[in-house]
Amino acid sequence: MTNSNLLTKKDLNGVFIRWATSCQICWNYETMQSGGVVLALGPALRKIYTNDEEYKKVIDSHYTFFNTQPFMGNIVLGAALAMEEQSGNSDFESTRSAVTSIKTGLMGPLAGVGDAIFFVIPFTIFNAIAAYMGKEGSPLGIGIGVLFGFCLLFLRKYMFTMGYKEGSKFVTTLSNQLKSLTNSANILGMMVIGALIGSVISVTIPFTFQQGEVAVSLQSTIDMIMPNLMPALVVGFVYWLLGKKGMTSTKVIVAVLLLSFVGYITGMLG
């Protein structure tokens, strides 16, 4: 018996929409995104498994640990759903183990790449622009970022469709391009960060010293060496601090507060 076309386009859209709108709605420490998986796949699986006992077992198997980058989850769920749909072609138990292994096999590697490509780098670029424009008093940067996030919805849909159509083959095709994509995105990210260093950090040395008749401001001397030298030095200091063993971002923030305290008290920083 072949049951290759059990799911209609409407069913597939339903899975995508439910995953997009509620993938982490019941996120918990025990099984993480399992609630989102059950919610997304549940109704479609009912169409595939009409036998009550089988359906119970299938649903139960999806209440297991699952955690990946939500957008990449589209590929994983698409691939898993395609396998479920073909379950009539093999015995029940082997489908179960195949679905479980594709889910666990893909979620880890895809999470790492997904976090870099969809979260860290675009967040750097768009959040930096939003924050930079926000500091100047304009909410326009927020709009640019939200617009980008909205456009990504189409890409998320595409990833779901490709995952469903091509399964893990799609991941192989993708992985060849992902490296170049991460690399190029890093370049863009780095240039924005470089610009950020020179624009959003404000640290000056109000200290002046008397040389004969004239008061020499230390800050103007530093400015002559290189504009934005102080912000660059501060970033270098934080970067060095972060490389220390057992250092967390919270500890660095405390260290900066201490530095600011000493700087303010001694009048060295302003």
């Binding site: 670029i125 995105a185 240039m191 971002s249």
Partner: protein, 263 residues
Amino acid sequence: MEINAIQIILICVYMAFYTYEGMNLQVMLYGGTTVIGGFVTGLIMGNPTLGLTIGATLQLMSLGIGAYGGASVPDYHTGAVIGTIVAVSTGRDLESALAIALPVSLIMIQLDVLVRMITTFFLHQSQKASENLQMKKAYTWIVCGQIPWALKGILPILLVFIVGVNNIDSLLNLFPAWLMGTFKVAGGILPAVGIGILLKYMNAKSYFEYLLIGFAMISYLQIPMLGIALFGLAIAIITFKNQTKNDNNSVVVTTGGAMDDEL
């Protein structure tokens, strides 16, 4: 100036929506949640410009900090919202907002951990219902798993309302001048922390030259941020094209590598 009930309700509705959107739909995330938090709260409170400034400062501080893989991190968004409420309603400035926002952001880590534990209960209830094939009930329990998340957003706001901004104002008056001075200096330096974390994450050593280009463009040429991003985009596209071209030339080698991995 006191906050009125409508403002509190609006901010709570926004917070509930934010806890949902940031975890699920994830469209707004790209606009910079902390800037948005400051801006929206500023709009509701009647001073969007101050809200934007507070949100932007906190956003820059936390650029590299993200809750990847379910980790709990300082919640600068809630910090920005509460900092804006206090600053606008008491007529204070950025420094006072930071003095409130930073401790709030750090305390929120604990609340985040608590929520992620509580939701386990909701999932267990859902699983129980599914064992009896009561799927509607099972789905409802999962959706209800959003309630603890929403409460995480709303409770801190209600707490501010209960304590009263006037009391927070008096508390801020007790802060000595050196503390406010420290926050003033820190407000300028703290964005370096977010930037430093990003540099660590993105492997700055291999991309140092591009960091230098961006820095020089803003320091010497004073090109606006968006313009630098466009230059960066152009260089990124050129690099992508060159690399994918090279990949196609060495396709035999790549396939060999992939097969080795499968073995």
